[in-house]
C-alpha cells in the first residue's frame, strides 16, 4: 500500500510542478501590460516602472519563474495590488468559507446521491427508479447559477425563508450559518446529486448482479443487511474513484455559486481578481484551488486503497 501511495504522491508532485508553472504562465497570456490595471492614466513612467518592479515584471522570464517557485515553496503567493495585502493571507481568510460551503454541499450530494441511487437500484425498473433517474437527469441539466437565482427568487424573495445572500461564519452564529449556507450548498450539490445518484445506481445494479450477493442471500441474511453490508461497500468503490471529479466540480461550482449568493469565499476572490486583472490573486488563487484538488485526489487514492483491498497489491 505504501508503494502505491508513494507512486501516487510522486505523480502528484510532478503534476503540482506543472500546475504551478501554468498558474504562473497566465500572466504571459495577457495581451498588453498587466500594470494597466492598477495605475491611473495620469501615471508617470516612474510609477509604471515601480509597479513593474513590484510585480517583478522587469526581470527575465526565467528569473521570474525561479522567483515564483521559490516564493510558492515558502507559501508566499505574492501581494494583491487591489487588496494591498498578501494573497496567501487573503485566500486563507476566505478558505473556511469556501470549505464550509463545498463541504456542506459534498455531504448533501453524497447523502442525497447515494440514497437516491440505492432507492433506484433496489427498485430497478419500477417507478421509484424511473422517478429518481428523471430527477437526476434534470439535476444534471439545470444551470447551477440559474437554479440559485430561482431559489433566491422563490425561497428568499417570495417566502423570506432564507437570506438572499451573504455569509455568516459558523463560529459567529451556527443557526445563521445554516440559514446562509443551505441554499448555496443545495444549489452546488444538485448537479452532483444527479451525478452520484446515477453512478450509485449503475454501480449497485452491477454489484447486485454479482455472485457474492447471491452468496449473501444463500446465507439467509436479511435484504437490508445484504444491501448495506455487501452491496453498498462494493458499489462505493467506483463512486470513490469519481470523488476527485466531484471535488473538482464542487470547487468549480463554488466559484459560480459564491457569485450568485454573494458569499465571500476563495472563488469570489479569484473572480474579483480576474475581473480587475489582479494577477497575483489570479495566479495564487488558481494554484491554491489546484493544490486543494490534488490533495483531495490523493486523499481519494488513500481511501480507495482502504475501501478496495485489491488495489493495495497493485
Amino acid at each position: 500500500m505504501s508503494s502505491f501511495l508513494a507512486k501516487r504522491l510522486a505523480g502528484a508532485l510532478v503534476v503540482l510542478a506543472l500546475v504551478s508553472m501554468m498558474s504562473f504562465a497566465i500572466i504571459w497570456l495577457v495581451p498588453g501590460d498587466p500594470t494597466a490595471a492598477f495605475l491611473d492614466t495620469s501615471a508617470t513612467p516612474e510609477q509604471v516602472a515601480r509597479l513593474r518592479r513590484e510585480l517583478g515584471l522587469d526581470k527575465p522570464i526565467l528569473v521570474q519563474m525561479v522567483d515564483w517557485y521559490g516564493r510558492v515553496l515558502r507559501g508566499d503567493l505574492g501581494h494583491s495590488i487591489l487588496l494591498n495585502r498578501s494573497v496567501t493571507a487573503a485566500i486563507l481568510e476566505r478558505l473556511p468559507v469556501t470549505l464550509s460551503l463545498t463541504g456542506f454541499a459534498l455531504v448533501l450530494a453524497l447523502i442525497g446521491g447515494i440514497a437516491a441511487g440505492i432507492v433506484a437500484a433496489v427498485n430497478h425498473n419500477r417507478w421509484p427508479d424511473q422517478l429518481v433517474m428523471t430527477v437526476a437527469l434534470f439535476g444534471l441539466s439545470v444551470p447551477d447559477f440559474w437554479l440559485g437565482i430561482m431559489l433566491i427568487l422563490v425561497l428568499a424573495v417570495q417566502f423570506g425563508l432564507f437570506p438572499t445572500g451573504g455569509y455568516i461564519p459558523l463560529g459567529d452564529d451556527p443557526f445563521g450559518w445554516m440559514r446562509s449556507i443551505i441554499m448555496p450548498a443545495a444549489t452546488l450539490a444538485i448537479i452532483q446529486v444527479g451525478f452520484i445518484a446515477r453512478m450509485t445506481r449503475a454501480s449497485m445494479l452491477e454489484v447486485l448482479n454479482q455472485d457474492f450477493i447471491r452468496t449473501a442471500d444463500a446465507k439467509g441474511l436479511k435484504r437490508a443487511e445484504i444491501m448495506l453490508r455487501h452491496g453498498l461497500p462494493n458499489a462505493l468503490v467506483p463512486i470513490l474513484t469519481v470523488g476527485g471529479i466531484v471535488a473538482g466540480a464542487l470547487l468549480g461550482g463554488a466559484v459560480i455559486v459564491e457569485q450568485v449568493f454573494s458569499i465571500p469565499g476563495v472563488g469570489r476572490l479569484i473572480i474579483g481578481g480576474i475581473l480587475s486583472r489582479d494577477y497575483p490573486v489570479i495566479q495564487g488563487g488558481l494554484l491554491f484551488l489546484a493544490v486543494i484538488y490534488l490533495m483531495v485526489n490523493l486523499a481519494v487514492d488513500v481511501l480507495y486503497a482502504v475501501a478496495d483491498p485489491r488495489v493495495r497489491l497493485e
Partner: protein, 290 residues
Amino acid sequence: MKVESSNLGISRANPAWQTLSRLFHNRSFMIGMSLVVLIAVIAVFADLLSPYDPLRNSFRTRLRPPDATFWFGTDHFGRDILSRVIHGARISLMIGLMTALLTGVVGTLVGATAGFFRALDNPIMRLMDALMAFPAILLAITVAAVLGASVTNVVIALAVATTPHTARIVRASVLTVREREFVEAARALGATDLRLLFRHVIPNTFGPLIVRLTYVFATAILAEAALSFIGVGPPPPAPSFGSIIAQGRDFIAEAPWITIFPGLAIMISVLGLNLLGDGLRDVLDPRMRV
C-alpha cells in the same frame, strides 16, 4: 464497428444498420434526439420563428410581464424575450457544437498521440492532469477573460477546459484498440505508424468519443451560460441563453421572466443532449457509466 466483409451491402446483418436500429429502439436516444432536433430547428429558423427583432429596443415596452403580445415578456431594453430566447438558441447551440468539434479534434489528436506513441504518453498525460487540476469552469473563465469576450474566445476557453478529459477517453480506447488483431495485422503488412493511427486506430475510438462529445456539447451550453453570468461570455447585443439571464439579473425581483425563460431553454437543450448522450452510450459504449 467497421464492416469487414460487406458483400451483403446494406442488410439487417450490417453492423451500422444494427447500431442504428438499436439507437431507434433506445428510449433515451429518441426523446433526446427529438428535443435536440426541436431546439436545432428553432435555432436554424430563428428569423422565421421569432415574432420580433431580438435586438430592437423600445423604451416604451420595457419590463413588460408576459402577455398576449410578448409571450415571455420584455427586458429592460423593451426587447421581446421570446425572440431573444429563439435567437439565443442559435448562439448557444453554435458555441456548444463548435466546442464539441474543437474538443473532439484536439482531444483526439492529443489522446491518440499519447496512447499510440508510448514515449509521449507520460509527458502528455501529466500535462492533461495538470490542466484537470484547475476547476474546469474557473479555467474557462480565466482563459475567456484573458483572451477577451468573443464567441471564438468562449469556444477556445471551453475547449481548453473540456479537452483533457476527452484526450484521456480517447487515449484509453486507443490503448485497447492498438492491441487488437487487425492493428497487428496491418502493422505486419507494413503500414506506417501514422497510417495505422489515422486509418485503423482513431476510427475505432469513435464510439466513446461521440458519447463524450455529446456530453461536452451539453456542458458547453451550461458553461457558456456561466461565463456570460460572470461577464466574460459572448458580447452583447446578440443574445445567448446565458447573456439573457445575465442581463436579467439586476431585475430579478421586478422582472423575473427575463431570467426564467432562457434558463428553461438551457435546461431543455441540455436535457435533450444528456438523453441523447445516454442513448448513444447505451448503444455505442456500454461499458462507460454516467
